[in-house]
Amino acid sequence: MILLVAIVVGISATWMRARYTNTRLTIPELEWMWLVPIAFVPQWLAFYFQPTSTSISTTAASAGLITSQLLLLAFAWANRKVPGFWALGLGLGLNLLVIVLNGGLMPISPETVRELAPNAPSAAWQAGERLGTTKDIVLPANATRLWWLSDRFVLPDWFSYRVAFSIGDIFVGVGAILVLWRMGE
């Protein structure tokens, strides 16, 4: 959910820019937009919709995640000429790479989980298992392929919202802001 902040930041900045420069927004013509809702469905079932996200197996969740991200990669490629999509595609590609190399879910180290939830009971998560109903699997850093691409960053303590994110997530967020920002030109 935190990535949606990029949408709010991007559209607010773009609107202010358009107002300041007295220009009209130029909405990009996106190709293959229908792919995005199709790609969203398996993730919605596996991670967002509680009745299914709590009962789905880890194998099905990871298959849904990879399928979904491959479809999104096709969408990003189809729109590669739209300013900002290079960052969206790169971020998605980095996330997909580390997910595929680590068994189908985004790795997160036990240390990062402890930073996220220092007061969580020890039974709340286990190394080698999926972290709740998230896209993450808890893996020690030394057992993670391309560890530096995993969910290893956390927001500073003064943020009340606790979340871990990856380099890929940063590119995805920047890409969304760039797509929206260029609409104000």
Binding site: A76, D169, V179
Partner: protein
């Protein structure tokens, strides 16, 4: 926020509709392409 909404209202209907479509598409893309983890739910 009020200014933003006023600005949005001033846009032509076709621009508003296309902008909403792009925003919804981008939101779904972000939720699906990113993988931030929040404890006990999605990031």
């Amino acid at each position: 926020m009020k200014r933003l909404m006023r600005n949005f209202d001033r846009q032509p209907e076709s621009t508003k509709a296309r902008l909403m479509l792009v925003l919804v598409t981008l939101s779904m893309f972000l939720l699906s392409a990113g993988a931030p983890a929040g404890f006990g739910g999605m990031g």
